[in-house]
């Protein structure tokens, strides 16, 4: 396992693997978004209570899932960076952060656009919404810390610690709707007695969730490649200075 992981952590190895995955991630992103949008805008029915407004769910919920997923990836990368010092883990974590921050922003913004017509308010300080806002700040804090130090290694280390500490917020977000009374509704999909969403609405939800995931993989691979190239450029510059 460790040997395999170390091999994968080799940047050149990574580039080779990524050059195979990247075009597929791109194709899947377009295909899944195509089918997913058809389902979420045309084929799926309106809700018995919310009418057509339920369609916001198909972008809101996948955004929120991705916000949590990206943070989990970031925390795992930070942990393996701190413990095993994998440089690639550091890069993946660093490049996941802005993507996760964007998804968190989208979850908050689309949630607001959903809350106004349904709840009657853009924002309420309940446990779910507040913990989600904290998640956005954690992402921004991670990004800021990364840049705050002149020494890149120290920056990465400080950011990794923040990412790990902040991971506590992830289960809090998930269970906030069960632990405290909130305006936000409880979980509909991942709960003990099965989803309480009709299958005609689960299909577009899962398709969009997969589309978001494919998009994340595509974007991440492009950004990691970009970082590896930047690393090479820096080495060239250092060589030039040394000359």
């Amino acid at each position: 396992m460790n040997v395999w992981f170390s091999k994968f952590a080799n940047p050149n190895r990574f580039l080779k693997v990524s050059s195979v995955i990247e075009p597929w991630a791109t194709r899947f992103t377009f295909a899944l978004f195509g089918v997913g949008l058809c389902f979420s805008l045309f084929i799926s029915p309106p809700d018995y209570q919310q009418g057509e407004t339920v369609r916001i769910m198909y972008v809101h919920v996948p955004s929120a899932w991705m916000a949590l997923f990206c943070y989990t990836v970031m925390a795992i990368c930070s942990g393996s960076y701190l413990i095993w010092k994998h440089p690639l883990a550091s890069i993946i974590g660093k490049e996941t952060a802005p993507i996760g921050a964007c998804f968190t922003f989208l979850a908050l913004a689309t949630g607001s656009l959903w809350g106004q017509p349904m709840w009657g308010t853009w924002w309420v300080w309940d446990a779910r919404l507040t913990s989600m806002l904290v998640l956005l700040f954690l992402y921004l804090g991670y990004i800021a810390l990364q840049e705050a130090f002149d020494d890149r290694v120290r920056g990465s280390r400080a950011a990794a610690v923040i990412a790990l500490v902040g991971f506590l917020n992830v289960p809090i977000i998930k269970f906030s709707v069960d632990w405290w009374n909130t305006l936000h509704q409880p979980a509909s999909v991942f709960k003990m007695d099965g989803p309480s969403i009709h299958s005609s609405m689960l299909t577009p939800l899962f398709l969009m969730a997969l589309a978001f995931k494919a998009y994340y993989i595509w974007l991440l691979l492009v950004r990691v490649r970009s970082e590896l190239v930047a690393g090479k450029v820096t080495r060239w510059k250092q060589r030039k200075v040394a000359d």
């Binding site: 029915p45 018995y48 349904m118 009657g120 308010t121 506590l168 009374n181």
Partner: protein
């Protein structure tokens, strides 16, 4: 190899301690995290009459009375106790009988004077036809 394990333990112990600390803080803050009080809680330990708070529950069936000038009266219930709410203004889309509601305001003479009404919706999503069918079959469990 040894240093690697030292770091691993350091990170693991740090995380456990932080988890404990957060749990304790959240437990202590519990009262502030709570968004609303249920009618029973309000009756048992009434908040000071001048203090604003949020009242949450389900709009009792058949209790909505719409008056003049967009004034509306209804009862908020939690199954055991209910409180009369008076509100003047625009109601959210999802405000209806047997649907969750959160009202912001204060108690005046055992009546809750609300100045903001928020609708809460449940975790059930389904097309109208399916909801009809379930209701017809008499297996309806959720709110109406």
């Amino acid at each position: 190899m040894k240093r690697k394990y030292k770091r691993l333990y350091f990170v693991a112990i740090g995380l456990v301690l932080l988890g404990l600390a957060t749990g304790l803080i959240l437990n202590a803050l519990e009262e502030n995290i709570v968004l609303f009080l249920s009618p029973s809680q309000v009756v048992e330990t009434p908040p000071p009459s001048s203090k604003k708070f949020r009242l949450g529950g389900v709009v009792e069936r058949g209790s909505i009375i719409k008056g003049e000038n967009a004034q509306v009266e209804f009862r908020v219930s939690d199954g055991t106790t209910s409180i009369l709410v008076i509100y003047k203004g625009i109601l959210p889309d999802l405000f209806r009988e047997k649907q969750g509601v959160v009202a912001d305001g204060k108690m005046v003479d055992r009546i809750f004077q609300a100045d903001e009404i928020l609708a809460k919706h449940d975790e059930n999503y389904m097309p109208p036809e399916v909801a009809e069918t379930i209701k017809k079959m008499g297996q309806w469990k959720g709110q109406e």
